[in-house]
Amino acid sequence: MAIGDYPKEYNPAVHGPYDPARYYGKADTPLAQVKLSELGAWFGRRNKTPSAVTGAISRAWWRWQHKYVQPKRVGMAPFFQLLVANMIFFYSINYGKIKHHRNYKYH
């Protein structure tokens, strides 16, 4: 599978038009339904190759796109979400510097 190809499991004859937000492989138990004791086994079953991780992030991105950005009449919600996500991201990468601006010595 080269860059830009469809996932290996995707078969247009069976699956129809390609949906980038969908996982076409064999479905495992959803994370929300996994019991705590089975969490290790569940995580062990995951495919942790770079391409699989990239695919998972890409699907999440498209799921968010389909839900908040692509509908016909969207509000400001996706823009605010991006804003807040950026704020948190940049706060965390700059945290090492911001730390020095603390006003109190003891907490």
């Binding site: 078969n11 009449r73 509000g75 979400q81 807040v84």
Partner: protein
């Protein structure tokens, strides 16, 4: 649909040609199988996801409802903020106040101009959609008009059949009229000739009769001698005298 058929036919051709050449290319991506509509339905463009406070997904609140009640998520949010602030994990440095003023401005702009901009953008969205749809709608309209005109043409063709039938009947009528006219003509001609013959015969007979009568009279009057005439006259006078005596 069509593209899938095309893909299938291309794949079929490839598999044939690649058996002759080397099996190096990715011919293993065979496109075979039955469409699974139940597990893999066509994606549908839905409504945008619901959010609260401008950006927090509704699902987050629903996740809390069963466990903590309706105020739970808000309590959690306030508690978390308090924790982050009090432990100075979130540091209120100079940028914090910049952020507060920016949030105020964004809030004011959103509430003040938001509805108007949303209305205008929605109208633009509708415009784009009608633009994209217009081709299809107009094609449909054109096809419907074509169907209507075709039906009209068929109706007219039926009328044409009636007309042709009427014309045929008309021709038959004309033929009949011509036939009768000729029949009448023949009758009259025959009658005229017969009448002529009749008249001719009658005339001939009349002439013959007249001639014969003339001839007989002439011959008879010629046969009467003067003696006979005198005798007859005398006889007549004697008869008249005898009658006068009576």
């Amino acid at each position: 649909m069509l593209s899938r058929v095309a893909l299938r036919s291309v794949a079929g051709q490839q598999s044939v040609s690649t058996t002759l050449v080397a099996r190096t290319s990715a011919t293993s991506t065979e496109i075979v199988g039955v469409r699974d509509e139940k597990n893999f339905p066509r994606p549908v463009r839905g409504e945008p996801g619901k959010v609260r406070l401008g950006f927090i997904p509704e699902e987050w609140f629903q996740f809390f409802h069963s466990k903590t009640g309706v105020t739970g998520p808000y309590t959690f949010g306030v508690g978390l903020t308090t924790y982050l602030c009090s432990k100075e994990i979130y540091v209120m440095e100079h940028e914090y106040y910049t952020g507060l003023s920016i949030i105020l401005m964004v809030y004011y702009a959103t509430t003040r101009f938001g509805p108007k901009i949303a209305k205008w953008l929605d109208s633009e969205v509708d415009k784009v959609e009608t633009d994209l749809n217009s081709d299809r709608v107009e094609t449909l309209k054109f096809l419907e008009e074509t169907i209507a005109s075709e039906k009209d043409a068929q109706w007219r063709a039926q009328g044409q059949e009636l007309l042709v039938q009427a014309k045929k009947e008309n021709v038959l009528l004309q033929l009949e009229a011509a036939y009768r006219e000729r029949l009448m003509n023949t009758y009259q001609e025959v009658k005229r000739r017969l009448d002529f013959q009749l008249e001719k015969t009658a005339l001939e007979r009349r002439f013959e009769q007249k001639h014969l009568v003339d001839w007989v009279v002439t011959n008879v009057s010629r046969a009467i001698t003067p003696d006979q005439e005198k005798q007859t006259l005398d006889r007549c006078i004697a008869d008249l005298a005898a009658l006068a005596k009576k």
